[in-house]
């Protein structure tokens, strides 16, 4: 049986370099999904652990790591494996730094609603949204998700519109 060679314990030589270059960004991707730095760091550790045994070309590493972090974090929120909401809110309060987008005031509760809505979005839409807001270019998102560059904007726009509706719906029912 051909158990994969890499899995025998060989760790790639450029791991240190890639880790130091990309760790903060990978945590950022996961944190956008999870809203918690601690959980995001757990995800990033696992993503890098997988990466350490992989043969992903170094040039493709940033995209691979970002997509892996987004998928893994989304899988976490979708499979309902998050911590109890009380812990979660505490964690979010501890981690959250108010955004510098002055016009958009978003409360903690709204953040948690956005994440619930994120979990309900079609997977590809959610990943595209998170990658885009993590700073990946349209071309990078297109490559990562096998979309045409032209459809990235549409996909991101739909996701944002869905999330905004989610926020408005709750705001108007309060």
């Amino acid at each position: 049986m051909a158990v994969r060679e890499r899995a025998r314990g060989a760790v790639r030589a450029d791991l240190d370099e890639v880790f130091r270059r990309d760790y903060q960004r990978v945590v950022g991707v996961a944190a956008r999904v999870l809203g918690s730095r601690d959980q995001a760091e757990d995800v990033a550790q696992d993503v890098f652990l997988s990466f350490s045994h992989s043969s992903v070309p170094a040039a493709e590493a940033p995209g691979w790591l970002a997509v892996a972090a987004a998928h893994t974090a989304l899988n976490l929120i979708r499979s309902g494996r998050r911590r109890a909401s009380r812990e979660e809110i505490a964690a979010a309060a501890e981690d959250t730094v108010v955004s510098d987008v002055a016009d958009a005031v978003v409360t903690l509760e709204e953040r948690s609603r956005v994440r619930a809505a994120l979990a309900r979005l079609p997977h590809k839409q959610a990943v595209a949204l998170v990658l885009r807001h993590s700073g990946l270019s349209y071309a990078d998102v297109a490559t990562a998700l096998d979309l045409s560059p032209g459809s990235v904007g549409t996909t991101v726009r739909r996701a944002e519109s869905a999330l905004r509706k989610e926020l408005n719906r709750h705001a108007s029912s309060d």
């Binding site: 049986m1 051909a2 158990v3 994969r4 899995a7 880790f19 130091r20 903060q24 950022g28 944190a31 956008r32 809203g35 730095r37 760091e41 757990d42 995800v43 990033a44 550790q45 696992d46 890098f48 652990l49 997988s50 350490s52 045994h53 043969s55 992903v56 997509v67 892996a68 998928h71 893994t72 899988n75 499979s79 494996r81 911590r83 981690d95 959250t96 955004s99 987008v101 958009a104 005031v105 978003v106 956005v114 079609p122 997977h123 590809k124 949204l129 998170v130 270019s137 349209y138 096998d146 459809s151 990235v152 904007g153 549409t154 996909t155 739909r158 944002e160 999330l163 905004r164 926020l167």
Partner: protein, 360 residues
């Protein structure tokens, strides 16, 4: 000229240089587009603020943690009492093989659709992406082509053992009698209930989707606009074994085959029309192809440059054997009386077939 799409307006906010000059000039002089642009910007800012997190991390401490974990590595995670990070690791470790098996079990339903499936194969040596137990039982996203109402959520979750899985799904859970070399212990078992959705085709929305893709819609067959179809997939069960070194090694899954029911026009008419539409995403098309009126046929989306497909027989049922061309992974899938079963793992096609035939 026609108005640029919402997607173009959205890109204008982030990467104006990526938008064609005629589109930019049009938007600058079009009230309707400027309004759309403002709305897009507002949504983008709001969502950006809601998602923003700027917690600084301690890279050195994180590196020490990773180094320790990598050194300790293949120590298997005890699934019975997983730690918090263990749960994450459990999700990450299952990965490629699981993705393949689930893709096969549900033949492209959910994220395991052609595109993602292809990506899984492209990065098979390593990928932790593309698989979620939440996708164990899933349905194609047809929302761009009409009204899709999900009537039953599969609620995928882990269960204690095969007996619990059988009780929850009503399926006969496959029993592996001889585990391949390098694989031992108990599998992690997950189940999902039935996923069901009703889709109502809208010629109008299909035309819009086509326009966004820059295409023209072919004529809609008579009686199709407004007709409904019910898509059902699952319940299903998947068992995942790790190899002695902690890599996912064997996946055995079984599910009620995806089926479509139609009250009006024959489902095939609607399906074939949808498949003929320009701009239909490849993954949605692949998912759609897996649905048949009687659940008896099972076309598989196979990326032919990377995967070789051949025919075989398992317990009298015709089976498809898929093997990656580098020989690192293989899967066997077959349908018997509306139930699809798949065996996949880090092995060659013959080994996978031997396990498939030895299932009890």
């Amino acid at each position: 000229m026609r108005h640029p799409t919402e997607g173009v307006l959205r890109r204008l906010i982030d990467e104006p240089a990526g938008v064609a000059d005629p589109d930019r000039q049009h938007v600058a002089g079009c009230d309707q587009c400027l309004t759309g642009l403002a709305a897009a910007r507002q949504d983008a800012d709001l969502v950006g603020a809601a998602l923003a997190t700027e917690a600084p991390v301690d890279v050195d401490a994180a590196w020490r943690r990773l180094s320790a974990a990598a050194a300790a590595a293949p120590a298997p995670v005890p699934f019975a009492a997983p730690s918090r990070s263990g749960r994450v690791r459990a999700l990450v470790r299952r990965p490629a093989v699981a993705a393949v098996a689930v893709a096969v079990v549900l033949t492209g339903a959910g994220t395991a659709a052609a595109n993602d499936w292809l990506q899984v194969f492209q990065t098979e040596q390593i990928t932790p992406v593309g698989f979620s137990t939440a996708d164990l039982v899933a349905l194609p996203d047809l929302s761009a082509y009409g009204d899709l109402q999900v009537t039953s959520d599969p609620g995928v979750h882990e269960v204690a053992d095969a007996a619990a899985a059988a009780a929850e799904t009503g399926l006969t859970v496959p029993v592996v009698t001889d585990l391949p070399r390098g694989v031992s212990g108990e599998p992690v078992t997950s189940v999902g209930g039935e996923a069901a959705a009703t889709f109502t085709f809208s010629a109008d929305r299909a035309a819009r989707a086509a326009a966004e893709a820059g295409e023209t819609l072919p004529p809609t067959p008579a009686g199709l606009d407004g007709s409904s179809v019910r898509l059902v997939a699952g319940p299903g069960v998947v068992q995942v074994w790790e190899s002695s070194v902690g890599a996912p090694a064997l996946v055995v899954g079984r599910a009620v085959a995806p089926t479509a029911f139609s009250s009006g026009v024959p489902f095939e008419t609607l399906r074939d029309h949808l498949l003929s539409l320009p701009g239909l995403p490849d993954d949605v098309a692949a998912q759609l192809r897996t649905f048949s009126a009687d659940g008896s046929t099972l076309p598989l989306p196979v990326p032919e440059d990377q995967v070789a497909s051949s025919s075989a027989e398992v317990d009298g049922a015709p089976a498809t054997v898929l093997a990656t061309r580098d020989g690192s992974m293989a899967a066997v899938v077959w349908v018997d009386e509306g139930v699809v079963t798949a065996v996949a793992g880090s092995m060659d096609g013959d080994e996978a077939l031997a396990i498939a035939r030895s299932l009890r």
